[in-house]
């Protein structure tokens, strides 16, 4: 239980508009609402992502779903530069892995993409909180971060591997 009790501001040399400070019932400095919201979602997403990654890897190595690149042939490919690997295996870049989820190796990309997407979800969760608190600059920075991460995730940026 962290009942927040406002306390007096600490005078600061250069702080013009300091952040409001509050404390928990135990007298400790309270953590901001958006920071806690971010932490809770990150915690949940990280656990689900790591569990998913472990389960899909078990499916992969157990051979329950046949991999796109046979396990015994992997050592022929992992020493190649990525462009040669893609050309040799006929694998396409971007989100094409979604079409290959029936294969054990590409099933792992569900967990990898989930872990790589958790941060975007966290930013989306805190943006409304920041705007509600009229923290406009950070609200817009959060939106900019979502745009940057979404652009990276979009698959639009590539180095001409295909």
């Amino acid at each position: 239980m962290t009942e927040e009790v406002p306390v007096a501001m600490v005078p600061r040399a250069a702080a013009v508009v300091p952040m409001p400070r509050s404390r928990t019932a135990a007298g400790r400095p309270a953590v901001a609402e958006e920071q806690l919201a971010y932490a809770h979602l990150l915690d949940w997403g990280m656990k689900v992502g790591l569990l998913g990654l472990t389960v899909t890897f078990a499916v992969y190595v157990s051979g329950v779903l046949a991999p796109r690149v046979p396990l015994a042939e992997l050592p022929r490919y992992w020493a190649l530069p990525v462009k040669q690997y893609l050309a040799a295996t006929g694998i396409h870049t971007g989100w094409s892995w979604l079409y290959l989820l029936r294969h054990g190796d590409f099933l792992n990309f569900v967990g990898i993409a989930f872990l790589s997407g958790v941060t975007i979800a966290c930013y989306l969760a805190i943006t409304p909180i920041l705007f509600r608190k009229k923290d406009l600059i950070f609200g817009w920075i959060a939106i900019a971060e979502v745009v940057v991460l979404s652009l990276a995730a979009s698959g639009l940026l590539n180095v001409g591997a295909h």
Partner: protein, 318 residues
């Protein structure tokens, strides 16, 4: 007690060296021929053992797993550096995601400090990742070796300041209201902090982001000195915010590697599991170790790996 721990410690480092040596011996020649002297399953098994040891070393040495992973795995395993960098980013990302929630909830990592820094670092990490994947392998290896040497130099010369003196917050951090307070359990008091030199610090994260994306190293080795020594955040806040920051910076770069095909689950998953289990063990024995001795060993390990990367890049030792 530390006398009894040190030999065990040395054993861990020797285990890393021995296993990577075996990996190199078994993998160096076949890497060119496109076949392996070992069955396919031996590689993820060796990778798991090495990353488990690296996880322990990373925690005890106070460095991120990514900075050890890329030069060591890239230098002594038969995997191409493209896939090693992709795996390195995901290893650093997984570690940051695991540590982030606790650090945020305790108020040690500061979201307000991280958000502006993360926007710059993550944008530049995309650029770094794109450039890194476009460059010839030898150029990347050489640049990686040189960068690791630079990191070693930074580790040797950079001092840390528990509570840096910040006489006056600068205008930008004041306008952005970047300041905070956290409870320090060792002293039982609340630590009020603010930062300065924010424009310079933010500009430095341009370079940090590019390097993180280009080499897949994670970036704790650079984040902490900049946040702590340059911007004046307390050491605990700097370390915690740096760790959390990696979850954002590495996310953007990781997507570039995923979308360009440079991620092999067979490298990524054993590495993530190995390094995370190693970190758990490392945390348990952290209290019984001599930090200075461990740090020296980490520096020696990094020096060796950087020379290996340089020589590989310069085609002297393939």
């Amino acid at each position: 007690m530390s006398r009894s721990v040190l030999p065990a410690w040395t054993g861990i480092v020797l285990a890393v060296a021995l296993t990577t040596g075996v990996a190199y011996a078994a993998g160096a020649a076949p890497a060119e021929a496109g076949t392996s002297a070992l069955p396919w399953w031996a590689w993820p098994a060796i990778l798991f053992l090495v990353t488990f040891a690296l996880g322990i070393v990373a925690v005890l040495g106070g460095v991120g797993g990514g900075v050890l992973f890329v030069p060591i795995i890239g230098g002594f395993f038969p995997f191409h550096i493209d896939f090693v960098r992709g795996a390195g980013l995901l290893v650093a990302l997984a570690g940051a995601l695991a540590a982030g929630p606790g650090l945020l909830k305790k108020g040690l990592a500061d979201l307000r400090l991280a958000i502006p820094v993360a926007l710059i670092a993550s944008t530049c990490a995309i650029v770094g990742a794109l450039v890194g994947l476009a460059l010839p392998t030898r150029v990347v290896q050489t640049a990686l070796g040189a960068s690791i040497l630079g990191i070693v130099a930074l580790m040797l010369v950079a001092k840390k300041s528990e509570y840096p003196e910040v006489p006056r917050a600068d205008h930008l951090s004041t306008a952005l209201r970047i300041s905070g307070i956290y409870h320090e359990p060792t002293s039982g008091r609340d630590v009020d902090w603010k930062i300065h030199r924010t424009p310079l610090g933010l500009a430095t994260f341009v370079l940090i982001g590019v390097m993180a994306g280009m080499f897949g190293l994670g970036a704790g080795w650079a984040n902490v000195p900049v946040l702590n020594l340059m911007m004046g955040a307390p050491l605990k806040v700097s370390v915690a915010t740096s760790k959390f920051l990696l979850s954002i910076t590495d996310t953007s770069a990781a997507w570039i590697y995923v979308n360009n095909g440079a991620v092999l689950p067979m490298l990524v998953v054993p590495s993530i599991i190995g390094i995370m289990l190693g970190s758990i063990v490392g945390v348990r024995i952290l209290a019984r170790t001599k930090p200075a001795a461990i740090r020296t060993m980490v520096i020696v390990l990094l020096l060796f790996a950087s020379v290996r990367a340089l020589l590989k890049g310069l085609a002297i030792w393939n």
